[in-house]
């Protein structure tokens, strides 16, 4: 599982950071940073929730 963010869509709402702070961090510069691009399978439910709840639908999961 690889976490993919479309930065053309991302508006730094930080909802993903609220769902999965191990993976997503919006910093004081208001940009999103991916802390763990290839998280373990145990985190899949959290990543899927972040995908669903992202207000700008900027996150997706690539299986590679």
């Amino acid at each position: 599982m690889r976490v993919v963010v479309d930065f053309d869509r991302c508006q730094s709402n930080a909802v993903c950071m609220d769902v999965a702070p191990e993976i997503f961090e919006v910093r004081d510069d208001n940009f999103l940073y991916i802390l763990d691009e290839k998280p373990s399978e145990a985190l899949r439910p959290k990543v899927e929730e972040a995908v669903r709840r992202c207000p700008t639908q900027a996150i997706s999961i690539a299986e590679d």
Partner: protein
């Protein structure tokens, strides 16, 4: 996986975000029966927030606001009735009637028909007066903005503010008319409205608060907006953003209790067996805040669609309260506005980070000694920390202390 025996056929009326969320949740929870979705628009569910921003500004085309790829829609196994409206509901026969007269039987029903823009009298006879809710409305407005020079927006709520910002970004002269003394005065303390107003004044918008609209000028096509004092704001295009009304017309003869929306219990169930509601149309008691609410925002459509679908599959003893912390955001110019929780004009306000002058701040709202809401301008990282505090019913004092410690 739900333990209760799943119903055989679920009908979802309303094919936008809440309806899609319900459909996806039903499948994720293991529902293998028939899924039917009814949508008044001719398109598969799409994302509405960009309509007043990227699409209206001309940065995005409609293909960029699809909510799912075709393969994802195929995998859901839904029969879509698009371009069709529900016209009636019989809760004892368990049928929904569509606009071609065909009754559609259901075992479970999700009501997710959303809301529709409130219109002003005298606006249907003149061309050039718009509302913005659907993709078609967005494209019609965008086309007119391409040749317009002066736009008048009626209503300084979030949709009006976003349209005004997008029109300014396009280089048009923009006047915004607001009946209340400041923007958002019905929802927020006055200084928050002033902060929103400042964003537009910074950008050269002619924002006029405390004014009434008496009518519209023009023959065949609008040429201006006539105010209560008799003066006229000249405009090539008018956009009316004065709120929405829940789309409950088709339910009026159903016997379902309606009260500015479909009345639900704390678990998103309506008074009729096998019928739940979600999204802009649903009014339910949110026990986290001790308040009955109807929430017209994107995140609620996702979360309530999920909750309503689970409620449909759950046995009566398994129903859980839907107790979200409401969230919304608005992007205007370079400003990101975000809000969590609840707010009313009389709440106590504390700015705990930044300042209104900097256009960068976090404001906390307190009621009865408890943290009720948090608003941020250009402070996404700081804001999100308050969701957990709101969910935990943190006292206002502790929330302020948290802010000072962070």
């Amino acid at each position: 996986m739900a333990s209760a025996a799943p119903p055989g056929r679920v009908v979802v009326v309303g094919a936008s975000l809440a309806g899609l969320s319900a459909l996806e949740t039903l499948r994720q929870e293991g529902f293998e029966g028939e899924l039917i979705a009814v949508g008044a628009e001719t398109t598969l569910p799409y994302d509405r927030p960009p309509l007043s921003k990227q699409v209206l500004q001309g940065h995005w085309e409609p293909d960029k606001i699809v909510l799912r790829e075709p393969g994802q829609y195929d995998a859901l196994g839904v029969t879509w009735h698009l371009g069709r409206r529900a016209t009636g509901l019989d809760v004892s026969a368990r049928t929904v009637t569509l606009d071609d007269g065909e009754p559609l039987a259901y075992d479970g029903l999700v009501i997710a028909t959303g809301a529709t823009p409130r219109r002003m009298p005298g606006t249907s006879e003149l061309a050039g007066i718009h509302v913005l809710r659907t993709l078609d409305e967005c494209l019609a407005l965008r086309q007119e903005l391409e040749s317009a020079s002066r736009v008048c927006v009626v209503g300084a709520g979030f949709i009006g503010a976003e349209v005004a910002a997008s029109a300014r970004v396009r280089g048009l002269d923009v006047t915004v008319l607001e009946a209340l003394p400041s923007p958002l005065a019905r929802a927020f303390p006055a200084e928050m409205g002033a902060a929103c107003a400042a964003l537009h004044l910074d950008q050269g918008v002619d924002l006029r608060c405390g004014v009434t609209v008496a009518g519209f000028e023009g023959e065949g096509r609008v040429s201006g907006v006539r105010l209560g004092d008799g003066s006229v704001v000249e405009a090539d295009v008018v956009v009316v953003g004065i709120g929405v009304v829940p789309e409950t017309g088709w339910l009026e003869s159903s016997g379902l209790p309606l009260e500015n929306g479909v009345v639900c219990d704390s678990t998103c169930a309506t008074a009729a067996p096998g019928v739940v509601a979600a999204g802009d149309i649903a009014r339910w008691p949110n026990n986290l805040f001790g308040e009955t609410m109807r929430v017209e925002h994107w995140s609620n459509a996702v979360e309530q669609g999920t909750a309503a679908a689970k409620r449909l599959l759950a046995g009566p003893g398994d129903a859980v309260d839907f107790t979200p912390v409401p969230y919304f955001w608005s992007d205007q110019y370079d400003a990101k506005i975000q809000f969590l929780g609840r707010c009313c004009p009389t709440d106590e306000v504390r700015i705990v980070d930044g300042s209104i002058e900097e256009r960068r701040f976090v404001a906390l709202f307190g009621r009865d000694g408890r943290l009720f809401g948090a608003l941020a301008f250009n402070r996404p990282r700081l804001l999100m920390a308050y969701r957990k505090l709101l969910a935990a019913k943190t006292s206002f004092e502790d929330a302020v202390a948290h802010a000072q410690g962070s």
